[in-house]
Homo-oligomer: 263 residues x 4
């Protein structure tokens, strides 16, 4: 399926600031960027870079003062993923899985899986296999957490969300990830452009490593795995926020559009 | 029913210490102290006092050095409470309840009800009346929290227990109280001598204010309302720990015995 | 000195709500209410009550729907307190102090003194007496915490403020109280009308029990003990917020005025 | 300088367990492994692996039952690092530093730098350059935190340590890292074999990225940069604990020896 993405972000630069944006579509397997443009007005020097062995494409800018707008557009072809649930039932034992997956079992800033071992075991331990466990986790997050904008901030973590029972897509994702890791199931944070999201915004969900592959789950149920274009994955939002900046700046406008289009 | 209580606590005094014990049976309505003795060896001066409008009987000691043992025995007649559930179904509106009950709706050190409003509403909001809500809370605490000694300390609070899913009787009580208060149901902490408790110890549970009376619930299910002698009630354990002390001391032994005896 | 107080609070009643206001001047020792009026528009039935052995005057209202405004005015004569620092140097040992003071050494919802024992000992343990310790605590809170409106909420506690280093008067007070209690110095929360406060609002500070009396400290330095009229004291703000309500309501306006006037 | 290392760790295997040990000396720049041996008794199959672009050498074992002991010995030549403080005074602006360093500015599980921005700015913001700031941070951690074994666990984070004021080397390191990152100074966790450590154990400290290089600081002052052999660095201990395991096991013995030897 094809997706047309258009993203426009405007900033006032309060003090000289270094910006690292995570808004470019990832060159991940299964999706092909057919066309893409980055236009900054006024024209400003920017760099694109990728950390070693990562698919995350950072956009780096240094701005001294003034205001600017980034307009990003892309057309992306995404192969439909058909998950054969049978292949997910028998997960590899940890000793045999790719070592690169291991960092995604450790707790991270927003996913304190180390505190949730007994919690996860009691709530989800009885499901018969890892796939059923992750499905149950995603359903439980959907059912117990209410989607309410403006109730959380960039310090909110999975344990906070268990208590407050409210949050936005990043909080749903963090809680899902933390509960998977608490059961020794590798899980990672995923940001995406999701088709026809309402309200339109950059979306976050999570992937669990099941039967030797990363499988996406959206505990908000606002989108679903085959209706999204991947931007970045990471241990959690602390590594791939839409914008990480050093300096002082104010976001004055953000428009995100993603539409699924017929072939 | 009659209960025979015998409590023996030994301490090493590391530095001069002021002790406030909460181990004497309360002169609460519904229970009569038939006989009682307090023996301290070696003999030490002690005082008993009660805060204004409280039934809590504090035992105050100041000890400079050495070791000591308190032996407390009591025989107590407790009237059986028969709760007529029908009287609990229609709770007074908050505007009409006794103002003295109001402090037990506020959050307290170990019961952060202010953080659990949505949690309590989502889990227990649909039960048809306050009595059913409190029963559901007590059952939920029993089912979700595991009784494990040594996993919590005197700083552990209700929110910690929701995350860790383990604790001892005080933690069960704090969680029950916090969830009641989050639904605007007054609730208080209760310490008791519970008959035939295994292992024998001073017990903690909670009371909710329903239909104009305090009704006891034991979310640990280790005892039950008619098998206990009341020691003290308070907002939470921060106010009525078995021992509050200022100085430095080590508890070297604690034996608690409570037996129900035939008339 | 005389103070003229005028307080106007307006609310929209979203759902039937029971209101408990803490805005009436306390009948505490040292201050005399010369005149006072409470006018609610539209006229609504209200009750004033006081918990046993408390000076806190609650104003209780039950409102079904609509909007209302409370106008409270008072003229209060306050005796100047001259603290003789010499009387504060030798505090009574805990064994000898009035038992009614003891509850103010226990931790409370917003003052987790139990977690701050070592912190308080390391920072303030070396000051030569309790008065010097409390002065040092109040100065330290002033110096380390920044007064920033809108950064905290009704769940914020002393430990949160140590980390965030920002807050409003209630947060400064909670931190001062927690550190006193961590050193076994009784301390309580105090709400006041403070003369010429900028911006005008109901103010919060704290009192420590020193040498047998309660002595006020204002760690925000926005006011000072002889420029305030007492409203209420309590373990912390969870017990005496300006408004505790059960229902659903929105504050649409709040004007507080307090002026010191010549005899 | 040369170091002789000998490490012996024994485990009881309670249930089938996958072990990932971080005890092998790193092949980091500046240190050369002259000889090395890994002996497991009884003999068990193990694998060594390294994550892409990492110097961390994991030792992987899967054990079904029984007990085992790992004996690791190594002789390592470490080049003395002479830090020319002048080179550290002028740090590169963030826009110019190696992107691979950026992940070490983000908060991590045990280093909640996002919560400590104002804290760090108020305490250390006035030091004239990044080198002076990090030195001040390391000194402050040494002075305010007490080294007390057994008071923290694997969930303890920098914010916890600010409150409790106690911990072990990992807690000192986490706090140092969090404060650096809160000032936008990249910082990472470092585990080492430290010569003549008392009591002997695997040590933890931290590195800050200053003037284009990683510079080590030991806020415990139990060792110092030129008396250590590097094992691993990472965002924090959640990624490089001595042992990460999945299963159930008990450590029955741990002997670590590291001696500096003459050429």
């Amino acid at each position: 399926m094809k997706f047309k993405i258009s993203s426009s972000l405007s900033y006032d630069v309060v003090a000289p600031t270094t910006y690292f944006f995570n808004i470019l579509v990832s060159k991940a397997e299964g999706q092909t960027i057919l066309e893409e443009s980055i236009i900054i007005s006024p024209p400003l020097f920017f760099e694109e870079f990728t950390l070693k062995d990562s698919e995350v494409r950072f956009l780096k800018l240094y701005v001294n003062y003034g205001s600017f707008t980034i307009n990003y557009t892309a057309t992306v072809e995404v192969n439909e993923t058909v998950i054969d649930e049978n292949t997910l039932l028998f997960s590899k034992p940890l000793t045999d899985i790719d070592p690169e997956v291991l960092p995604f079992i450790s707790p991270s800033r927003h996913c304190e899986s180390d505190k949730l071992m007994k919690f996860a075991l009691k709530e989800f331990g009885d499901f018969p296999n890892q796939f059923e466990k992750v499905k149950a986790i995603s359903d439980w997050v959907f059912k117990t957490v209410e989607y309410v904008g403006g109730t959380t901030n960039s310090s909110t973590s999975a344990c906070d969300t268990i208590i407050s029972r409210q949050g936005v897509c990043k909080d749903f994702a963090h809680l899902g990830i933390a509960l998977c890791r608490a059961l020794d199931i590798p899980a990672r944070y995923l940001t995406t452009y999701a088709a026809n999201l309402n309200p339109p915004d950059i979306h976050a969900c999570f992937e669990a490593y099941l039967g030797n592959q990363w499988v996406a789950f959206d505990p908000t149920r606002l989108s679903s795995p085959n209706k999204m274009v991947k931007i970045a994955h990471a241990k959690d939002a602390s590594e791939v926020a839409v914008l990480i900046y050093y300096g002082q700046t104010i976001c004055t406008n953000m428009d995100v559009q993603c539409d699924g289009v017929l072939g």
